[in-house]
């Protein structure tokens, strides 16, 4: 396992450099720059600013400076939030996005798998049809449609939950964003879990377990789940990617001061370092999750050798 982790870390570094280069290039290709305003700055001042931020140097030189800074763990100054470095901005927003993302992923995994298993066991019953029907809606309706509807209903009409703000991480403020973020994932996961559970239930080794006279509950817990959960483990990384992109929108809708906001604002205002910093964070997280899902798969399925 340690071998796998070392190997992945070795791959992660060049991958990150490619991602950084890509974002770096894309941001420069986009018209305008961080200091482009409606009213043009006097040339001398622009010159001074560009010098201060190394923007006057050739691109490849700028990239080199940026990379060497990152190697030291410094993501550079933000061009737009002038008194802050990117590190500070990310540190202030990340705990919020992380709380949101982790709660959403735990809830989606747990509820999605549970609903999927029950639907598979009780297939072609009312429960199955209800779960599958609702999950179809969950897949079709994007979270940016769901979120306003939820906040309108539970926030304004019923007055049960606050519709925006972080409020120091108050659990009531978290409910609506987490629910709107995880519902589409619950829908996808429950459908995946249902079909893989049905497939497992029809396999020969479940027939053996039945022939051994094992009670139903034991068959499900000991023989079925560990096999049927495997596709969900593989889906862990794509689900995280989905939650990340989802959270950018959800944070906007519910006015949460996470990093999703910096990503959008940064991209619009050509805040090169900020966008790049958030990208590095997202990419690292995603690679971490892929590693985690590979390790989990190896633990759950003895046929997979971790190398």
């Amino acid at each position: 396992m340690i071998q796998l982790i070392i190997k992945r870390l070795a791959i992660a570094i060049p991958t990150l450099i490619i991602i950084i280069a890509f974002v770096f290039g894309l941001m420069r290709v986009a018209p305008g720059g961080p200091f482009t305003n409606e009213r043009a700055l006097p040339p001398e001042i622009e010159q001074k600013i560009n010098e201060a931020y190394d923007l006057d140097k050739p691109l490849i030189h700028q990239f080199g400076i940026y990379l060497s800074k990152i190697a030291k763990g410094d993501l550079g100054p933000s061009y737009k939030y002038k008194d802050f470095t990117v590190n500070e901005l990310i540190l202030s927003g990340f705990p919020i996005s992380l709380t949101l993302g982790v709660s959403a992923i735990i809830i989606s995994l747990f509820l999605g798998s549970l609903l999927g298993i029950i639907a598979a066991i009780k297939r072609n019953t009312i429960f199955d049809y209800t779960v599958m029907g609702v999950s179809l809606i969950g897949i079709c309706v994007p979270s940016f449609v769901l979120a306003p509807i939820l906040s309108l209903f539970f926030g304004l009409y019923l007055g049960l939950l606050p519709i925006s703000g972080w409020n120091g991480g108050n659990i009531y403020n978290l409910i609506l964003p987490v629910v709107s973020l995880s519902l589409p994932q619950i829908a996808i996961i429950s459908r995946m879990m249902r079909s893989s559970t049905i497939e497992t239930l029809n396999s020969n080794f479940i027939r053996t377990a039945r022939a051994k006279g094992m009670p139903k509950r034991r068959i499900i817990t000991k023989h079925v789940i560990r096999s049927s959960i495997l596709p969900i483990i593989d889906y862990l990384a794509p689900a995280t990617a989905g939650l990340m992109t989802g959270s950018i929108i959800i944070e906007q809708i519910f006015g949460l001061p996470g990093i999703g906001r910096y990503f959008v604002v940064g991209a619009l205002q050509r805040d090169y370092t900020l966008v790049s910093g958030v990208m590095i964070l997202y990419a690292s997280l995603l690679m971490l999750l892929i590693l985690l899902s590979d390790i989990l798969r190896g633990v759950l399925d003895p046929r997979v050798k971790i190398k």
Partner: protein, 262 residues
């Protein structure tokens, strides 16, 4: 002789998209204690479904009607829970495909001991002791080591031995072997059949051996039952039926056995 299983007027129907399919049509037969009954017939003749139906492991779209008295209990009248108390405890199963019939993520030891732990409420250590015993009966080597292995680490023949071991965990009265040697090579086939012969001789276990291979059946069975399209075509002493078949279909079936095997 004491009759262990007596089946009367058994029919099995499957509800398919093309309508009701009659897999087994009103058949009756019985098995004496200690007997080995071979059930021969081509694919789809209903030989497997006969035994799946009386033990309640038909697939969901199947229904069975009739009487199947096992030790004076009609199996077809039992609830799923009552049946699962008999399966694995009094009736052991061996399936056709050893490659897929064992749970891939559970080690051999756990797959064996759970049978005794669930049915006989044995402790883990007692069950492990029994597991080593049965693995010895099926002649598997290096048992300690084997208990910790996973199915994919074993060969087909070894897996089938484990499968037989599982069926023996609770000292069953009756074993249903559904094409137990079909997926194995000829050498392994011989060894597995030898185990069956030993079980018959030393353990006095009643065996129903389902196979399309007359050669396999003739090596172990005392009596034979020929099935075709859900009906019993012929039944009787194995040697007699094979030497002088009375029915056209049986002759036809026997003509498919290569000359040198006879």
């Amino acid at each position: 002789m004491e009759t262990i299983l007596s089946v009367n007027g058994l029919s099995v129907n499957f509800d398919t998209s093309q309508g009701l399919f009659k897999a087994v049509d009103n058949i009756s037969f019985s098995i004496e204690k200690g007997e080995c009954l071979g059930i021969a017939g081509e694919s789809g003749s209903g030989k497997t479904q006969t035994f799946f139906s009386i033990t309640g492991i038909l697939s969901d779209n199947g229904t069975a009607t009739g009487i199947a008295d096992f030790n004076d209990v009609d199996l077809l009248k039992l609830t799923e829970k009552e049946l699962s108390n008999i399966r694995g405890k009094k009736i052991g199963f061996i399936f056709q495909d050893p490659m897929t019939s064992l749970t891939p993520h559970m080690n051999i030891g756990n797959q064996l001991i759970e049978v005794s732990m669930v049915h006989e409420k044995k402790t883990k250590n007692e069950a492990l002791k029994k597991a080593k015993e049965v693995l010895d009966i099926v002649k598997l080597p290096r048992i300690e080591n084997l208990l910790k292995k996973y199915p994919h680490e074993l060969s087909g023949g070894m897996r089938q031995r484990v499968m037989i071991g599982i069926s023996l965990m609770c000292d069953p009265l009756f074993i249903i072997a559904d094409e137990p040697t079909t997926a194995l090579d000829v050498t392994t086939q011989k060894e597995i059949l030898k185990i069956f012969n030993d079980l018959k001789k030393f353990k006095d276990i009643t065996i129903a051996l389902i196979s399309h291979d007359i050669g396999v059946i003739s090596e172990v069975s005392d009596t034979i039952l020929i099935m075709n399209e859900g009906h019993i075509i012929e039944k009787g002493n194995c040697q007699e039926v094979l030497i002088s078949p009375k029915h056209e279909y049986t002759k036809h079936l026997l003509s498919c056995v290569p000359e040198w095997m006879k």
